[in-house]
C-alpha cells in the first residue's frame, strides 16, 4: 500500500506540514479558521530539527503495529493497512505511546485522548495534507 515517506535531505524544516496537518484534522474548513481565536489544533506529524538535519515523523502504519496490539481498549485498529484511533473509545492511558517505536502517537495537554495520523482518511479521503503542502517534495505518498 502507499505510505508517507520522508526524504531528510530535502526537508527545509519549514514546519508547514505540521500546520497543514493540524488544520486538516481540526475540522475547520480552512487554515485561517483552524487557527482563529488563538486555537492551536494539534498536528499529527512533527518535524525534528538538528544540526543541518531535519525530517518529519508521522505514523509508519507498521505491518506489525505494536500500538494496536498494546491498546487496552480496542480504540486503535487497522483497516486496509491504515491504523486509526476511535477517539470515543480512547481513555488516554498512553499505552500506545509506550509501545510506538517511532514516537508517532501524539499527546497534548489540551486533549485527554491521543491523536495519530490516519493518512487523512477521515478528513480528506486518503489524500494526506502534509504531502500536498510540502513545498520541497520532501514528503511523498508512495508505494515502496
Amino acid at each position: 500500500m502507499k505510505k508517507v515517506y520522508v526524504n531528510e535531505d530535502w526537508c527545509l524544516a519549514c514546519h508547514l506540514c505540521e500546520y497543514y496537518c493540524a488544520a486538516a484534522n481540526s475540522g475547520a474548513e480552512n487554515m485561517i479558521k483552524a487557527f482563529a481565536n488563538g486555537n492551536k489544533p494539534i498536528p499529527r506529524i512533527r518535524v525534528e530539527e538538528g544540526s543541518g538535519i531535519n525530517f518529519a515523523v508521522q505514523c509508519r502504519h507498521c505491518d506489525v503495529p505494536l500500538c494496536v496490539k498494546s491498546c487496552i481498549t480496542g480504540a486503535l485498529s487497522v483497516k486496509d493497512g491504515v491504523i486509526s484511533c476511535d477517539e470515543s473509545r480512547c481513555v488516554g492511558c498512553y499505552t500506545c505511546v509506550l509501545a510506538c517505536p517511532y514516537g508517532c502517537i501524539v499527546t497534548s495537554e489540551s486533549s485527554k485522548v491521543i491523536s495519530k495520523c490516519d493518512l487523512c482518511m477521515k478528513n480528506n479521503n486518503g489524500d494526506p495534507a502534509c504531502v500536498k503542502g510540502c513545498p520541497n517534495k520532501a514528503i511523498v505518498l508512495e508505494e515502496r
Binding site: 509508519r60 505494536l66 500506545c96 517505536p101 514516537g103
Partner: protein, 411 residues
Amino acid sequence: MKKYVIIGNSAAAIGAVQGIRSVDKDGTITIITDEAYHTYSRPLISYWLEGKVTDEKIYYREPDFYEKNNVMTMFSTRAEKIENGFVVLDNGGKVQYDKLLIATGSKPFVPPMKGLDEVEDKFTFMTWDSAKAIREKVTDGTKVLIIGAGLIGLKCAEALYHLNADITVVDLADRILPSILDVRAGEIMQKHIEQKGTKFILGASVEQFSKNSAKLTNGDTVDFDILVVAVGVRPNTELVSEAGGKVEKGIITDLHQQTTIENVYAAGDCTVSHDCSSDTDKILALLPNAFMQGEVAGKNMAGEETLYLNAIPMNAIGFYGLHIITAGSYNGDADITEDADKEIYKKLVFRDGLLKGFILMGDVARAGIYTSMIREQIPLTDVDFELLREKPQMMMFGKARREEKLAGITH
C-alpha cells in the same frame, strides 16, 4: 477441521482468536469463560467505576467480534479440568479440543487477616462484577479503606476519588507503586495523590478488623464503610498443574507458548515470561503482553510457527491526572533528571552498553522510542548518547536506521 478451545475471554484469549483466524479461517473456536460478558477490557473497570467509560465502551472488541471471527462462546461456564483431550465443565459437559489455550489470568490474593470475617462490605478489584459491587456501595463521603498501594489499589482509589469517597490507603511497604517506580518517583506520585485528598498510611498492616474499623500495627485505627483488598494477585494455574503440566511462579511455556502438555498452550497473566531486559523469568501481568502472547499461541495452534520474543515489563498508567510510562529493569547506572515542582521525573538506566530501563513521569511524550531501544537491544554506540539523554527522538539514531524506518529504504 481443527477444534480450538480457549479457556478465558480477556486479552490473551482475543489475541489467540485473531492469531488463529490469521492462519485458519475454517476451524471451530470455542471460548469458555466463567464471566457473563462479551470480552471487556479489564483495565477499564476503574474508568467504568468512576463513570468515564460507559457499559457500551468497556468492551475490548466490537459487539460482532465473535460473529465475525466465527467463535462459539460459553459464558458463565467454569472449566474444571483437562482430561484426555477434553475440557470438563462445571455443568457436567465436556468440550473436545485438538488445540487448547489456557488464558485464565489471575485472581486476587487475600491474605489471612484477623477479624476479616466480621467485615461485611469487603471487595477485591479485578473484574467488572467487582467494580459493579463496589459502585453500589459508594456515594459522596463513603469512607473507603484500601489495603495495597500497588497498581490495582491505586487505580481503584483514583476511581473512588472521582466519586467523592473519603479514601485511606494502607500498605505494608514504606512506598507506593514499588513494582514500577523507584523511591523518588514514588514520593512525587504519593505527594500528588495526597494533594487530592487521598490519605496514605505506609509501613503498616492490619492487626485486627472489626465490622467497620481496622486497628493497624502502627497503633492507628481507621474507620471505614467499605474495605477493598488489593495486596496482589495469583495466577490461575490449577488446570495445568492438575493435568500434570509444569508450573512454577506461573504456567511454564516454551517460546511457542506451548505448555509441557501436548496440544495445550497458555498465554497472559497465568504464565511465566522471559524478561529480556533483566534476562529473568517472571510473570508479566500486562495487557499488551497478554494480547501478543495469545496471538503467538493462536498462530502456533493453527500451524504457523511463531516465537514470542523481546518481552519486557512495561507500563503506561496515570493516577489522578499524572502520567507515568515505565519499561525494562532498573538495575544498572542511572541517569536522573527531575523538576519536582512540575512533577517531572526521568530516569534512564544503562547496563552492558544498552538502555535497560526507564521511568518517565509527567512528560511521557514519545516514550516508545526508548522502549524500542530496550526491546531491540540497540547498542548505545549506535546512537547519539546526548540526544538520547535529552529526550526520545528519532534524531538520535544514525541516518541508516532513520532512512530504513522513515523513508522505507533498506540498506
